[in-house]
């Protein structure tokens, strides 16, 4: 994992990417953007990259995920779970699982973005998948936490039982 932090694979923006998407936010302290370049005919991912504002585990998770999906069909990439990402890294500690969740969330968003102006294939569910919802929940949780903490920090608080 440290090696991937030190020498991440697929780091940086793809200028003429066919799709890109971000999960997380600056406020929650974790943010991943995934870029995809896709072969129009075969729907195979020819190039994948990422940028990350986050901890070392976050960078490693994004790096390994972009490795995993290279040369894969979008349909196959869609199926990758955060569990797989975690396993690939030798098991993310539980406190860092959300890093894997965010990375997969960003990837699925990017795949959806790819089909935004194209016909939606059958394998791509209309509804959000549990993993996408998890990424959303993760973001919401942190936003709520953010608001709560902000409220606490800006007004004198009286805590009562």
């Amino acid at each position: 994992m440290l090696e991937l932090f030190r020498n991440p694979k697929n780091l940086g923006k793809i200028k003429d990417a066919d799709a890109s998407a971000t999960a997380g936010s600056l406020a929650c302290g974790d943010m991943i953007t995934i870029y995809l370049k896709v072969d129009e005919k075969t729907e195979k991912i020819i190039e994948a990259s990422f940028e990350s504002y986050g901890c070392a585990a976050n960078i490693a998770a994004s790096s390994i995920l972009t490795e995993l999906i290279k040369e894969k069909y979008l349909q196959e990439a869609w199926k990758i779970s955060w569990k797989q990402v975690s396993d690939e890294l030798g098991g993310l500690p539980s406190i860092k699982l959300h890093c894997g969740i965010l990375a997969v969330g960003a990837l699925r968003r990017a795949i959806r973005a790819y089909y935004k102006n194209r016909e939606r294939p059958e394998w791509l569910p209309e509804e959000l998948t549990p993993e996408e919802r998890q990424a959303l929940e993760e973001e919401e949780l942190m936003n709520i936490l953010g608001k709560k903490m902000r409220a606490v920090s800006t007004k004198p608080s009286e805590k009562e039982v």
């Binding site: 943010m31 504002y53 070392a56 009562e160």
Partner: protein, 408 residues
């Protein structure tokens, strides 16, 4: 499972290789002992402090002598005219004893007042008491961490059990005006007890408990380059506390068990060293602090200092935020370069919330996540600080290069 984890750790440590220099600046979280304090600990284990100080034999009396000397040493360093010192197993334990022990001894007063930037070893016991029916009031601070005295004054009444404000804040180095705080409290209600967590103040700022109207104060050994796992609580005469842990009688009424005499002897030695070199050390820490802060702010874009400046800031505290540079990643990057620091980022707090101190001084989330905490010490030299600065410049650049552009 543990085998797996420890082999991962081994790989992690070995991946560091041999950095050009190693500079340990994470003194907030521990590390670095005075050689003389370590020798004192060893001598005590081997010769003079292995016996139980309340048993009637020579090794016992010898241990008791060390224990009493250590108490005298601390009392004289903080210029206390009366009162007692009870040694505990940590600063955390001292804070718990102060708060829980007071609540047990005076159950008819139900309000506990702490500042919103207290160390978790003050905040959490207060919150525990809240679950038991006490009320906890958090006093807001300004954007440099100074407590709002008007708000404090409004909270003091005959319901108030205690006020607890750290003499120096552990994260942003705010040197509180303890005298003004005590005046405000005494003015409204002379019975309200005043506690200060002085773990980070000992040796960094002059403490004069002969003049200060402070009733209880906590100290921690490893914050002054003494052994870990030893702390102390100063309790003024006339203040009633109950022990919070129970067991076999010791020579100290507020703390049961076998006193850790060797660590206490090491603590006492470190106190002596700080007392003898007080002005000198303060000057040195401040000089190194200012080199580091000045260098960071002039050489790194979008860097912000958290906490006050100049003499209102602890002589050793450097807390800076780098926009667009996540703090935990920066601690790892710096570790690979031999510079050891900690961060207020959510990722290092193990709760996914950034530091409550940075949020209390109204730092935006982005700034809290990108914060780095370092402390200078008498054990550092200018070369160490210059090295750390050089590596910091490179590390911030690298971590920023990974982030999505447009973040800064």
């Amino acid at each position: 499972m543990i085998g797996n984890l420890s082999s991962n750790l081994r790989a992690l440590i070995e991946a560091h290789g041999r950095p050009e220099r190693e500079v340990y600046l994470d003194l907030e979280n521990s590390g670095l002992i005075f050689e003389e304090a370590l020798n004192e600990l060893l001598k005590s284990y081997r010769e003079s402090g292995y016996g139980h100080p309340s048993i009637t034999h020579k090794p016992g009396w010898s241990s008791l002598e060390l224990l009493l000397e250590a108490k005298e040493n601390l009392l004289s360093f903080i210029k206390a005219r009366d009162g007692e010192v009870v040694f505990t197993h940590s600063g955390t334990e001292a804070n718990n004893l102060a708060i829980m022990g007071l609540a047990k001894a005076t159950p008819n007063r139900r309000k506990i007042i702490i500042s919103s930037i207290e160390h978790l070893s003050v905040k959490f016991p207060a919150e525990r008491l809240q679950e038991l029916g006490f009320r906890v009031m958090e006093i807001p601070v300004d954007d440099e961490g100074f407590v709002n005295l008007d708000y404090l004054s409004d909270q003091i009444d005959e319901e108030a059990l205690m006020v607890s404000v750290a003499a120096i804040n552990h994260e942003i180095g705010t040197v509180q005006d303890l005298r003004a705080i005590a005046d405000v409290v005494r003015d409204k209600d002379p019975e309200t007890i005043i506690h200060t967590d002085a773990c980070d103040a000992l040796g960094r700022t002059p403490l004069d408990f002969g003049k200060l109207e402070i009733d209880i104060a906590s100290f921690s050994g490893h914050k002054i380059h003494a052994p870990k796992g030893v702390g102390a609580l100063y309790v003024r005469d006339g203040i009633k506390l109950e022990p919070i842990i129970h067991g076999q009688l010791s020579s100290q009424s507020l703390w049961p068990g076998v006193e850790n005499i060797p660590s206490i002897a090491g603590f006492s030695k470190a106190i002596e060293i700080f007392r003898e070199n007080f002005d000198n050390y303060r000057e040195k820490m401040k000089n190194l602090r200012d080199i580091l802060i000045g260098g960071i702010l002039s050489q790194i874009d979008d860097a912000f200092l958290n906490g006050p400046r100049g003499d209102r800031r602890a002589v050793d505290n450097v807390n800076v935020s780098f926009l667009g540079c996540e703090g935990e990643a920066l601690t790892v990057e710096l570790s690979l370069r031999g510079v050891y620091v900690s961060s207020g980022s959510a990722c290092t707090s193990r709760t996914l919330e950034p530091s409550h101190v940075l949020l209390a001084i109204k730092r935006p989330y982005e700034i809290a996540h990108g914060s780095i905490l370092m402390k200078t010490s008498p054990l550092h030299g200018e070369k160490d600080i210059e090295y750390a600065l050089g590596q910091l410049v490179k590390a911030v650049e690298r971590v920023r290069s990974i982030a999505p552009k447009g973040v800064v």
